[in-house]
């Protein structure tokens, strides 16, 4: 297969997420980085792009110039800019018929998110949103186990994403973290929008169910913060599952605690992002089994998302690579006029992005009403 042509917006020098995207896109050799507008500082962005091997004439100072020049030349653009710019950039590229992988959050407001989802549907362009942890092989296996009925009906999901990197009061004025708790820069939610929403996407992804309503308790543990640094959200999903979701930025000692437990009628699952190569599965009334990534007897969904043999750790960059591999297959299939491999249809879409924004708004509303239950669905998806 010819390599696909890939563009990157944001993700310049010093970016945390940029390297993860470049590695994710590089791993399988399916994409060639052809164009980029990598930095708000145009000169710095062009320099960095050229350093990455992009031809000077395709190293742009801003995304508008890139859009003007790259129409028809790119198969996929990744948007990894500051949150508030996701909407205009994504919208513009979709309108130009260029497929987009947008970092989360897809937009700032629900109205924008509705617009993106509608734009993607109208233009027939792919809009993916990078809930990248859904790329892990064993996360896909959990989804497959639920889908094929191993757990019976899913009753209950315990999800959490806890870290402690914003717990230091002495560091609270550090510009690197302060903006996250300033509504002017961060919007309506801090740790729930930043971290907790990953856990919610994962719960929905695995259960195959969407949020109906929720009740949230937000607190700011550090004095002076205007947005929450710890949140507990209870949800009901549309298939009847209950979700208990905890997220925190003040949990000193926790690193990247994106953990999930899924309990159904006939079994329970446990998985933790920091040790992603093992999945604990307990069939009702039996002993717990340790499923190994790459091991025999896993689902085709898991096998497709594994590259190295059992017992060798695969980590987060390979989860991202799976999102890119899905997109490559779907894009290639379109170009070749064929049906894509159904196993590739697991990447998160604009619909997921929209649902996430709606859930964030609902959680904020609930938290402001002392935990009142609030409809968690975007307006367009209320039946």
């Amino acid at each position: 297969m010819d390599k696909l042509n890939w563009g990157l917006i944001g993700g310049g020098k010093g970016s945390q997420i940029g390297p993860a995207h470049r590695i994710g896109a590089a791993i399988d050799g399916l994409f060639t980085l052809q164009a980029g507008a990598l930095d708000i500082d145009a000169a710095r962005g062009r320099d960095f792009a050229i350093g990455l091997g992009i031809a000077p004439e395709r190293a742009y100072g801003d995304w508008q110039a890139m859009l003007a020049n790259e129409r028809g030349r790119l198969d996929l653009v990744t948007v990894a800019t500051p949150n508030a710019t996701h909407y205009p950039i994504t919208k513009a590229f979709l309108e130009a018929g260029i497929n987009v992988l947008c970092e989360k959050p897809m937009t700032v407001t629900v109205e924008q998110a509705e617009d993106i989802a509608a734009t993607a549907a109208r233009t027939g362009t792919i809009c993916a949103v990078n809930y990248g942890y859904s790329g892990y092989a064993l996360v896909r296996h959990m989804r497959a186990m639920v889908a094929r009925g191993d757990l019976g009906r899913v009753r209950l999901i315990k999800a959490e994403f806890a870290h402690g990197f914003h717990a230091d009061a002495a560091d609270a004025d550090n510009p690197r973290s302060r903006w996250r708790y300033n509504p002017a820069q961060a919007g309506i939610s801090a740790v729930f929008a930043d971290c907790g929403i990953h856990a919610l996407h994962m719960a929905s992804f695995i259960a195959g169910q969407q949020a109906l309503e929720l009740s949230a308790d937000f607190v700011a543990c550090l004095p002076g913060r205007l947005l929450e640094d710890d949140a507990m959200v209870n949800l009901r999903l549309d298939g009847g599952a209950v979700v208990r979701l905890w997220t925190s930025a003040v949990a000193i000692g926790r690193m990247h605690g994106l953990n999930i437990q899924v309990f159904g009628e006939t079994g329970g699952l446990r998985w933790a992002q920091e040790w992603p190569n093992q999945l604990f599965w307990t069939p009702l009334g039996e002993t717990t089994r340790i499923l190994e990534r790459g091991g025999p007897g896993l689902s085709p969904e898991a096998d497709r998302a594994s590259r190295v043999t059992m017992g060798h750790a695969e980590g987060m960059p390979l989860a991202f690579a799976n999102i890119y591999a899905d997109l490559a297959e779907v894009i290639a299939a379109r170009k070749q006029g064929r049906t894509p491999d159904p196993l590739a249809l697991h990447y998160p879409t604009a619909q997921d992005g929209l649902r996430s924004i709606a859930a964030i708004r609902a959680a904020v509303e609930s938290a402001q009403s002392r935990g009142a239950w609030v409809d968690a669905r975007p307006p367009s998806l209320r039946s």
Copy 2:
């Protein structure tokens, strides 16, 4: 020291909790089991008591006969009968001036609990309640660390007690578990009163703070259940700490998931009851350290509660033994007219029992009001 005279009510043949009490009381050789009314079936109870080495004339058919005959002869009575009988038995023995260790829940209603607390205060008799997990050496060390300021102000506690032993719908009509979800037998709450309340006591015990108000979400995951088999409770404690408490009986694969994480201004702690000999401690900005029970540098509170050397596991029976050792010290000090070792003053009291019952009632009330925030304090302790 002469051994203390101990009596047991309930805990007969087939009881789960009876052996744990007998082992706990036996471990340090501080008590001699002298009298018992062990079973609702008088003959079976007397036989079992005699088999345990109780003299036939002190093996009673019911607690009333025991009370009538043992006045002045016992230093401590343990009450391990069905929940609804805790109140009359405990009250009667306290009135007779006999110290009591009562299984939890101390009573069924808040009014009864107020009465027990008042009776203990009025008679000057010791009334302890068996939140036995507070006996673990490293739980006591966490309490000591908080008390001496290692964590700064406690901001946040994540507590959980999750198991999966009531998840089987096919087994839901089994009399062994069905009564737990029947209000006529179990009262107003199932898994929160049975399990979650242990996690709440532990949170208060460690933080040295008491519940002020709470919001609860109760669900019955199994069809037909009238009481909750899964609950999430958010609390505010009187020292400002936020508690996130999850408890479940349908978490297939979880055994006895009484876990706690305590986050303060200057560090975080993590501990799990199933692996009770290690405590994970992360000072702010530093690496996580693994503290070993019995190891050097622990607090006097932890050292007093350790019996075997570091690296050898101690388990639940030794936690119970620590509660008994505390009581033995306090009872002996009274008999000898001396001040007890302050390190022994960590056993849970009637005040703890009362606060727990009030919290259960508040949680039920909140759950029935879709999570409205409810005062969690007993009437007598509202300032």
Copy 3:
């Protein structure tokens, strides 16, 4: 059942192993501590004994006085004195017809060990040796699994007992540890005789096979030590199993690393003493299962050795209690003229003690011959 009469020699004030024996004997209430000679310092020993509730006239200044006075009055004597005295004390009590539980090592020399084994056989008295870790419920389950064929033929055992408490060169002259590396006080072997031999007993206990021959590599990592502080021993057992046994006292960070892995034709097992309530079992070609102590489906051997329900940790004191419970059953059966419960016949005997001493001598001989293979059997057990 009437309580059995128990005597203790050694285990006085400050002893590490004394409390473990007293707790182990107390847990099930099967023994009453009636007599003791607890200390080399006669007055201190008598005071301590009286403090434990022993009648003054049975609190002895030395074991000879105890023996003279207690003949016919005791059901069991535990010998927990310094190693060099195990032989004369054990021998004298056995000759007097009193059952003995002797701390390991049973004797210093193979000749003494042969004598003890022969004396026990001749007199028909019980002589047990406290390889106390064989009392753990899941260790007994491993033995039962091997015995009933779950693993097929045992091919390979990886056993280790590693700690780091003698790694500090600055502390090497501390009298508390120096004697262990001084042949005049410690005999011919240090860490292998002290720790490694537990791992070897456990391997034999589980496999149901005995050591045939061995090759040892001993090193003294700390300068100036005359005995080994680290050892690797390869063995062949009489049923064909290969054993790889590592033991160390300089493994900084290891606490009490008594771990064992057993590999057969049809499955593998892993267990660690520091987390004794879980056993990892991998049937050939299947996923690993986590077996929980107290859980359903374990063997009768494991069930007999469990006291509290699944999910509650049991620790080392309960393992010791299982040895005492075995002995109580066998002693009581003799007194009552009945056949003992066969599930009680798992305590280590003088034969085990003898085999251990022979293995230590063989390992020393091999280490002195640069790892030459040496017969590991005691003379009396070479066919």
Copy 4:
């Protein structure tokens, strides 16, 4: 920097190691795969190469054709062919002045290995050997900790590499594994040469010490095997460290048990390949700390080998990528006539490959002499 030109020999369709190399080389975008001779079946190899994006005229049917045509056009060739062919291919490319990364074992005999090492030295060409686990960030951190003296003198290393994938007697005749135990195909050693040697390289790599002499115990647990499927090797390194090395292919339940423990005068380290993002560090007399990959305070060596932030797992493909990144830096520096970053000088070299082959021969010789101690050094490195 311009991308370097990379060629691949072996690693065709169905190869296990091929994808790991391609991913490793792709991750940082430093190399472009320009040429390949991927399969013994020429047509299949060419097809596969073209599928990978290699130009048809550089997709070769055999390595000789590739060599003839690519002289002067490639910066690095990776040799991932069957073991017996490593020598002629590596030798030929080195002679042509093309840098080589050779899969292990570098050669079959010590004489060949000496020749490769001499050839690399004579021609001034880079010859690296893929002991790829040395690329893990925390392995490099261990090496740095030892080098800067955190552990004092290294006394003892416990290394193991245990799996259970060759334990099934019913599968022993499966051609996929049978060849490994057939001397005609596999050479003089099976599991030690295949797996154990990785553990030995890691021990040397971390300790900065080389093997002096060794004693080995090899066994074939499965009947009919002519080569060992389990081995224990004791070594002495030239800096005084003792190594205990266990390797097995019959350890059912173990996946990829490449674990190492390093004990020095002032601290101990523990690391396991299956959970490579945490390192356990115990300073003498203190509690154990958990060091997180990507966390603050690690060495520059570790930082250079980390790509994603702390708390996100990195796995084996990124370890391989670190080897490739090292080589890219050194090759680029040569091309640019500058001194390479000293942090890149950690890739294993032909010297390491030579030492490994010598250690394998020594271990076989020792095992055949019942564990006699044998010089482990290659002839050219005996002083």
